[in-house]
C-alpha cells in the first residue's frame, strides 16, 4: 500500500460533530447540484409573491386595516408559507436516502448515523434562508416597505430560523416513515397546505366562519405569521412572539426526538 493511512484520534463527541458537518456538506452539495430544485428555491417564492399580491391584492385590501397595503400584509404570510413548503424537501431527501442503498453504506461505517438527519435538516436551513432572502428582496423591489429596526430584524430572523428547524424536523419524521418518495410528497402536501391556508397568511381572520376562525387563531402558523407581521409593520407584537417561539421549540424538540427514535429503530433491525 503506497498511502500510509492515518486515523483521527479525537474524543467521540468531536467525531460525532465532524460526522454531522460532513453530512451537512453532503446535503448542501445536493442542493447546489440539484438544479431543478434550485430553480424552485429562487423562483417559486417570487412567483407566489407576485401572484398573490396582484391577484388577491385588490379584493383583500378592502378588509385590511386602513393604511396597510396588501403587499405589506402578505409578506409575513408568504415567507412562512414558503418556508413551510420548503421544509418538506427534508422529507424527500431523507426518504431518498432511506429507499436507496446509501443508508446501508452509512450504517456499515463507524459513524454516528443520526448525522444523516442532521445534514438534511441543517442544509435545508441554508436553502430556506436563501429563499426567504430572495423573497424579501423581490418584495422590496415591488413596493414592500417595512418599519422594522435592527432588533426587529434579528427577532424576525430568529423566528424564521426556529420555524424552519421545527418544520424540517417534522418533515424528517415523514421522510423516515415513508414507503415511497411520492408518499412523502403527498403527506407533506396534505399537512402543509391546510395549515398555511387556514391561517392569517393570505387574508385577515375576520372574514372566516367561527369554526375555521377558532382553529386559525390558535394554530401555530398564525402565531408565527402574526409575530413576524407585527415586527415588520411596527404593530404591537402582543403574545404572538412568545407563543410562536414556544410552538416552534415544542415542535422542534418533539419532532427531533421522534424522528431520531424512528430512524434508530428503522436502521437497527
Amino acid at each position: 500500500m503506497a498511502v500510509q493511512l492515518e486515523f483521527e484520534k479525537k474524543p467521540k463527541l468531536v467525531l460525532w460533530v465532524m460526522d454531522s458537518l460532513l453530512m451537512i456538506k453532503r446535503s448542501s452539495t445536493h442542493i447546489i447540484r440539484n438544479t431543478d430544485q434550485l430553480l424552485g428555491t429562487f423562483f417559486q417564492p417570487i412567483m407566489f409573491l407576485v401572484l398573490f399580491a396582484t391577484v388577491f391584492g385588490g379584493a383583500i385590501s378592502q378588509a385590511l386595516p386602513p393604511g396597510v397595503t396588501y403587499l405589506n400584509f402578505l409578506m409575513a404570510g408568504i415567507i412562512v408559507q414558503t418556508v413551510a413548503f420548503g421544509s418538506t424537501t427534508t422529507a424527500i431527501a431523507v426518504a431518498n436516502d432511506m429507499q436507496k442503498g446509501i443508508i446501508d453504506r452509512f450504517r456499515s461505517l463507524p459513524m454516528a448515523n443520526l448525522a444523516v438527519l442532521n445534514g438534511h435538516v441543517i442544509s435545508d436551513l441554508f436553502r430556506n434562508g436563501i429563499s426567504t432572502a430572495v423573497m424579501i428582496v423581490a418584495g422590496l423591489a415591488i413596493g414592500f416597505r417595512t418599519n422594522a429596526n435592527f432588533v426587529d430584524w434579528l427577532l424576525i430572523t430568529g423566528i424564521v430560523l426556529l420555524f424552519t428547524l421545527a418544520f424540517s424536523w417534522l418533515s424528517a419524521i415523514a421522510g423516515v416513515m415513508a414507503k415511497s418518495i411520492e408518499g412523502v410528497q403527498w403527506l407533506s402536501f396534505i399537512v402543509v397546505f391546510p395549515l398555511t391556508f387556514a391561517s392569517s397568511a393570505f387574508v385577515p381572520l375576520e372574514g372566516m366562519n367561527d369554526g375555521l376562525k377558532a382553529f386559525a387563531e390558535n394554530q401555530p402558523i398564525t402565531h408565527i405569521i402574526e409575530a413576524i407581521r407585527a415586527l415588520m409593520l411596527g404593530w404591537p407584537v402582543g403574545d404572538h412572539l412568545w407563543i410562536a417561539t414556544l410552538w416552534c421549540l415544542g415542535i422542534m424538540v418533539v419532532s427531533m426526538v421522534v424522528a431520531s427514535w424512528l430512524f434508530r429503530r428503522k436502521t437497527s433491525h
Binding site: 498511502v3 436507496k100 442503498g101 446501508d104 456499515s108 463507524p110
Partner: protein, 322 residues
C-alpha cells in the same frame, strides 16, 4: 500454525414473522482467504451478509467478526469491514472523488489520508477520468467499481461482497474479477455471495452452498465437484444406425443416451483405461463415431445434484432484492 478464523457464524437463525429465512447457518472464514456463499435467489445469502456486517439483527446463534460480537461491538466491527452491496451504494450527486473522500472521513481517516487514498483508488480502479463527474453519470460497471473502491477506502482487512457482478456485462465482470483477485493477493479476507457457479469456482478458496436458509454443502471447488462426479465421455454418432449399434455394443457401460442428439455417455473412472476400453469396443465392431468429448463435472452439476434446481447462468439478469 492453527487456523485463524476472522468471520465465524454458528447456528445463525433469522425469521421475518413466520417466514424463517435462516435455519441455523454455520460458516467460518479463515484469515486471508475467500469464502463464496453460493445459492439461488432467496437462499438467505444477502440476509447472512447483512447480519455479518451489523446491518441486521438475528434471532439465534453466535456471530463474530475479527473477534468482535456483531451486536455488542458493532462499532468495532464496522471499523474493520468494508461492504459492497447489491445496489451500488454511492451518492449519485457527488463525484467519484467526493464520494471516496467523504466515506474515508466517515471511516475516521484524516483529511490528508482520505484525499491521498481516494486518488490512489481512482487510479487503481480506472476511474481517474471520471473522478470529477457526478456518480449518476457513471455506467453500471463504473458505479460498481466506485462502490467497491468506497468500501476499500480505509483498507479494511475484511470485505463483504454481496453479488458484486450481478447484472454486469461480461467485460465489466472480468474487470471486477481482476480487482477482486488483486485484493486477495493483498491478503484481504473476503466473503463473497454469488448465484454464479463460475464466479465461486474462479475466485473462492472455499465454497458454502446455501439453499432455503440452510447450508447444504461446503468445501473447496474441487471437493464439491468430487462429490458428484466422475468425468464422462460423450460420443456423438452420425446416424441412427451407428447410434443403435453403439448402445448395443456398450451395453451396461452406457450411463446416458440421447436419441435425438444421437449421443452416448459413459462414466470414466480411470481416464486412459476406460476411454481405451470404450473405443476398443466400438473399433471391434467397426462402429464409427463423429465426435468425442470428455466432460469434467462442473459446479452446475454439484448444484443440481444438491438442490435439484438448475443454477443460474451469468447471462441471466437478476431482479433487485425485495
Amino acid at each position: 500454525m492453527a487456523k485463524e478464523y476472522v468471520i465465524e457464524a454458528k447456528g445463525l437463525k433469522k425469521s421475518y414473522g413466520s417466514n424463517q429465512v435462516l435455519k441455523g447457518v454455520d460458516l467460518k472464514v479463515e484469515r486471508g482467504t475467500m469464502l463464496a456463499l453460493l445459492g439461488p435467489n432467496g437462499a438467505g445469502k444477502t440476509t447472512t451478509v447483512r447480519i455479518l456486517s451489523t446491518l441486521l439483527s438475528f434471532d439465534g446463534g453466535k456471530v463474530s467478526v475479527e473477534g468482535y460480537d456483531v451486536v455488542k461491538e458493532a462499532d468495532k466491527v464496522r471499523s474493520v469491514i468494508g461492504l459492497t452491496g447489491q445496489s451500488a451504494a454511492v451518492d449519485e450527486l457527488l463525484t467519484g472523488r467526493e464520494n471516496l473522500v467523504m466515506m474515508g472521513r466517515l471511516y475516521r481517516l484524516t483529511k490528508r489520508s482520505a484525499v491521498a487514498r481516494a486518488e490512489e483508488l481512482l487510479k487503481e480502479f480506472g476511474l481517474e477520468k471520471a473522478a470529477d463527474r457526478p456518480a449518476k453519470t457513471y455506467s453500471g460497471g463504473m458505479r460498481r467499481r466506485l462502490d467497491l473502491a468506497v468500501s476499500l477506502i480505509a483498507t479494511p482487512p475484511i470485505i463483504f461482497l454481496d453479488e458484486p457482478t450481478t447484472g454486469l456485462d461480461p467485460r465489466s465482470r472480468l474487470a471486477m474479477w481482476a480487482i477482486i483477485k488483486k485484493l486477495m493477493e493483498n491478503g484481504t479476507t473476503i466473503l463473497l455471495t454469488t448465484q454464479y457457479l463460475e464466479e465461486a469456482d474462479q475466485l473462492a478458496d472455499n465454497i458454502v452452498v446455501i439453499d432455503g436458509g440452510k447450508v447444504i454443502a461446503e468445501g473447496s471447488a474441487a471437493q464439491l465437484k468430487g462429490k458428484v462426479g466422475k468425468d464422462r465421455l460423450e460420443l456423438q454418432f452420425a446416424g441412427e444406425k451407428q447410434f443403435a449399434e453403439a448402445v448395443k455394443a456398450l451395453g451396461k457401460d452406457v450411463a446416458d443416451k440421447n436419441e435425438k442428439d444421437l449421443s452416448v455417455t459413459t462414466i470414466i473412472k480411470n481416464t486412459s483405461a476406460d476411454v481405451r476400453k470404450t473405443l476398443d469396443v466400438l473399433a471391434k465392431q467397426k462402429i464409427e463415431f463423429e465426435s468425442m468429448t470428455i466432460h469434467k463435472p462442473t459446479l452446475d452439476d454439484v448444484f443440481l445434484s444438491l438442490t435439484g434446481k438448475q443454477a443460474k447462468k451469468p447471462a441471466e439478469k437478476k431482479k433487485g432484492k425485495k
